[in-house]
């Protein structure tokens, strides 16, 4: 009797496409991830082309930007998203703010993800003293009030975009480290890792080729969720005066400047809030698609 038959038919020749192309195709095939990709590309373009596409100078406090009583104007044909308390065009400020927020969101989060994943994977795989030291540091960082730490760090170094990104990364990497650590620990005891050790593979080889690909799921999910917290933390820092310095707009500081007028001029909080949600959501959708595209078990299912 021959029970050893494959349950999967021969794969179509399309599976042999260049991997990067295949991933891009997988993303564009699904409406959700295609949406995410389009939003992100649009935001990047807006950030790069900001000086040319803004209808008004973002820092110009226009006379006709306020009502006769001195109140900000709601969205209209002239000012698409309305104006703020100082009569500046909100749309222009939002577009310019994309630069700051994207850089902070991607840079700070990127550093946090890399740092957190590295600490977690190393501690999880080696265990013992290495894990004890690294994870106690992580616990310490977790117990330390994040905002206080950020303020102290930001106060020591002169505020700049890079410093702000680094400060936020220092606060945000711990959650990632915890998650990756736990997963690596259970992964390190699996048979296929033992096989690698038995064949004499070095630790870096095992970590990069065999453990990391299995952690992609958690890293992508936590990484994309981190983007919105990052953008908001930047806003908090701006608000406290240790973040990006006004009048340079960022989505966060636009919200904080205007939050007290929420009842009278809701658009001032609503639109930058929407921008943050869109950014986080888009990265999330894109992350999901990326995760599925990289999983060989799900190939050709959607």
């Amino acid at each position: 009797m021959n029970t050893e038959t494959t349950n999967v038919p021969d794969q179509p020749a399309t599976a042999k496409r260049h991997p990067a192309k295949a991933v891009l195709l997988a993303i564009l095939k699904r409406p959700q991830s295609a949406f995410g990709l389009i939003v992100i590309v649009a935001m990047v373009l807006a950030a790069v082309l900001a000086p040319w596409i803004v209808p008004y100078d973002p820092n110009d406090q226009m006379f006709d930007g306020l009502s006769l009583e001195g109140a900000p104007l709601p969205p209209s044909a002239k000012f698409w998203l309305g104006t703020d308390l100082l009569g500046r065009d909100l749309f222009s400020r939002l577009v310019l703010g994309t630069q700051t927020s994207l850089i902070i969101g991607v840079l700070a989060n990127g550093i946090a993800v890399v740092l957190g994943a590295t600490v977690g994977i190393v501690a999880g795989y080696f265990g013992g003293v290495v894990a004890a030291v690294l994870m106690r540091i992580t616990d310490l960082m977790m117990a330390f009030p994040a905002l206080l730490l950020a303020i102290v760090l930001a106060a020591i170094f002169k505020p700049s975009l890079l410093i702000v990104a680094l400060v936020i990364a220092m606060v945000n990497w711990v959650q990632m480290a915890r998650v990756v650590y736990t997963e690596t620990r259970s992964m390190a005891q699996r048979d296929f890792i033992e096989v690698q050790r038995a064949m004499g593979a070095s630790a870096p080889r095992i970590l990069i080729r065999h453990i990391l690909p299995h952690l992609i799921y958690s890293i992508i999910v936590f990484g994309t969720l981190g983007i919105s917290t990052t953008v908001l933390l930047e806003a908090t820092l701006s608000y406290l005066g240790v973040g990006v310095q006004p009048p340079t707009p960022s989505w966060g500081n636009i919200i904080f400047e205007n939050q007290t007028y929420f009842a009278n001029a809701p658009w001032l909080v609503f639109f930058p809030g929407l921008a943050i949600v869109l950014l986080a959501l888009s990265f999330n959708l894109l992350g999901d698609a990326l995760r599925d595209a990289l999983d060989p078990k799900l190939k050709g299912r959607h």
């Binding site: 050893e4 999967v8 033992e194 690698q196 064949m199 593979a201 690909p213 060989p296």
Partner: protein, 598 residues
């Protein structure tokens, strides 16, 4: 009512308590509905044991779940057919609430893994009481006494003490007894047992099967047993339904099935079952030198406790074990779970810290650095039990077979690809399968891939740790044949670790029996399996089910003495056994009941 009364030879017609007619189940998959069970029909008669036998994917568990109303919702549904009880109650269209009244009271079920079926944070007593109270079997005041009676019914030792214990404090066999007690709490008519002994050691399996038979006699319960093990079928069944990929292949009384199987599938299935005692002849290995030489190997795992987290005790997983293997020879290491046999396999590859001496082709493994260890590992490789778990699901199988060659810098580029293609052909796969991922292969094919990977470095010794235990018997036979061919051609030495005596009888030249980290008996296959001298070995062999319903296995021998523990306080250790040579090459640990071999 005893099963004997249902013999067709007697006048009274068998009375069905459960009838399944034309049962068809479909499961929703991303590619549309898939029929997983097609037109299954059978009667379960009062007091008998019906076995659903078949290999993985045959639909036997699906049938049981359908009867219990436990099909995974909403993916699976019954699309045709009926399941009815003796009084006409139809089960296939019940709601969950209605099923709850039927489960436990009229039909109950025990599962393969008792640990996951019990609640880890509730005592045994309260779990039993919960079932009794849920189904109004007694008042809250009577529950403890009733629970105790149930535990005594399943012959648990120290029943009073067990009531207050938690599941993790009991052994696997005791947990399964508790599960049976819970299943029988409401005295159901039908007991469904889904692979109830698959996770248990062979001696415990024999005891649990004996218990199920005894309870069946006392309570007149009808048993529907699901198993892949034809030995268990032969031992337990009155009638058998052989299933294959969702269809029923053959239904017959057990003796008829084993004597004259009517379908090709049943014939092939029975032919593939390894039998203790029909051991094929083995070529003589080249004994001029030993390729593996283990001397005084000990492995201890420290247990820390107390305020300062100091080592207070050690688990003596392996204690002073010595053996040698010649090229082309197979040494089988047997013993029950926790005896340290797998730890020896890991120690040989330097995966756990150990004491003593391990020489692979002359090179020391114990206490050497990473670089030296890497060199030794070219000569010794390992094949694990679960081929699914030992392959990386995110890498093509070709890349995984190539890895050892890359790690040791043996081949690159087109040479690497050629070597991998050659390895694929060597284990009976085709090179065009190299670019696929592990999930696209069957269990047997995956194990072939693992073997190809282990062979990549042209090792001289292969440690096969339960390498065929997770495979269906037909596939198991094919993989064993592959291992035998490879051994003959490459003069490979195997350390074959297994709990399955019948498989060992097929492959081994010599056998070593272990218990609690020490070797109790070692000798040639004939010496150990035909003339076992140590009581432990004899008990182990007496528990192996015989896949022949005409030969009744004598009851399993009683356990000799207390079950020991491999945990000792720091500075202490187990009493070392002195091995005596009772016949040339047959060494046995001293024991008062040890018999002199003939």
């Amino acid at each position: 009512m005893s099963p004997a009364e249902n013999n067709p030879g007697r006048g009274d017609a068998p009375r069905p308590v459960l009838s399944v007619r034309g049962l068809t189940i479909q499961v929703a998959t991303p590619n549309g509905a898939k029929t997983v069970l097609e037109d299954i029909s059978f009667d379960l008669n009062q007091g008998e044991t019906l076995c659903l036998a078949g290999e993985s994917g045959s639909g036997k568990s699906m049938t049981a779940l359908a009867i219990m109303g436990l099909l995974p919702q909403p993916m699976a549904r019954i699309t045709a057919g009926s399941i009815s009880l003796a009084d006409g109650t139809e089960l296939s269209s019940r709601t969950e609430a209605e099923f709850r009244k039927i489960r436990a009271r009229r039909i109950s079920m025990i599962f393969q893994e008792p640990m996951t079926s019990l609640n880890p944070v509730m005592t045994i007593g309260s779990q039993l009481a919960e079932v009794l109270l849920e189904h109004d079997m007694c008042s809250a005041a009577e529950a403890p006494a009733k629970a105790l009676a149930l535990l005594k019914d399943v012959r648990i030792t120290d029943a009073e003490k067990r009531l207050r214990q938690y599941p993790h404090e009991l052994s696997g066999g005791m947990r399964q007894r508790v599960m049976i007690a819970i299943a029988l709490a409401c005295d159901p008519q039908i007991l469904i047992a889904d692979e109830p002994t698959t996770a248990l050691d062979v001696t415990v399996q024999a005891e649990v099967l004996e218990l199920i038979r005894a309870l069946q006699r006392e309570h007149g319960t009808t048993v529907l047993m699901i198993t892949h093990d034809m030995g268990v079928v032969a031992e337990m069944a009155d009638r058998v339904l052989v299933m294959r990929s969702g269809k029923q292949e053959e239904a017959a009384p057990v003796k008829e099935l084993f004597a004259t199987p009517r379908t090709d599938y049943a014939r092939a299935l029975l032919a593939a079952v390894p039998r203790l005692g029909d051991s094929p002849a083995r070529p003589d290995p080249d004994r001029r030198h030993d390729i593996l030489d283990v001397e005084g190997l000990s492995v201890r795992f420290p247990m820390r406790s107390g305020l300062l987290n100091r080592v207070t005790a050690n688990v003596h997983a392996v204690e002073n074990v010595s053996f040698k293997i010649a090229p082309g020879e197979t040494l089988a290491l047997v013993g029950e779970s926790g005896c340290g046999k797998s730890t020896i396999g890991k120690a040989l590859l330097g995966l756990v810290p150990s004491d003593g001496s391990i020489r692979v082709d002359g090179d020391q493994v114990v206490g050497v650095g990473q670089a030296a260890l890497k060199q030794v590992r070219r000569n010794i490789q390992m094949v694990f039990q679960d081929p699914g778990a030992s392959l990386d699901s995110r890498m093509t199988v070709g890349a995984q077979v190539a890895e050892p060659l890359q790690v040791h810098g043996i081949a690159t580029g087109s040479e690497l690809r050629d070597r991998v293609e050659w390895l694929f052909r060597r284990v009976g796969l085709t090179p065009d399968q190299m670019d696929r991922y592990p999930h696209e292969f069957s269990g047997g094919q995956r194990q072939r891939i693992c073997i190809a990977r282990a062979l990549a470095l042209r090792p001289k010794v292969i440690v096969a740790d339960e390498s065929v235990s997770a495979l269906d018997v037909s596939v198991q036979a094919q993989v064993l044949e592959l291992l035998r061919e490879l051994q003959e051609e490459e003069k490979l030495a195997y350390l074959f670790i297994s709990h399955d005596m019948a498989v060992i009888d097929q492959v081994a030249d010599r056998v070593a029996v272990m218990n609690l980290g020490q070797m109790l008996e070692t000798g040639s296959r004939e010496q150990v399996l035909r003339n076992p001298a140590h009581p432990y070995t004899r008990r182990l062999l007496s528990a192996v089910p015989i896949p022949d319903p005409t030969r009744k296995r004598p009851p399993v021998l009683p356990r000799a003495g207390e079950v020991g523990t491999p945990v000792f306080k720091k500075g202490q250790g187990p009493e070392p056994f002195a091995l005596n040579e009772i016949a040339p090459g047959h060494w046995v640990a001293a024991h008062p009941d040890t018999e002199q071999a003939a």
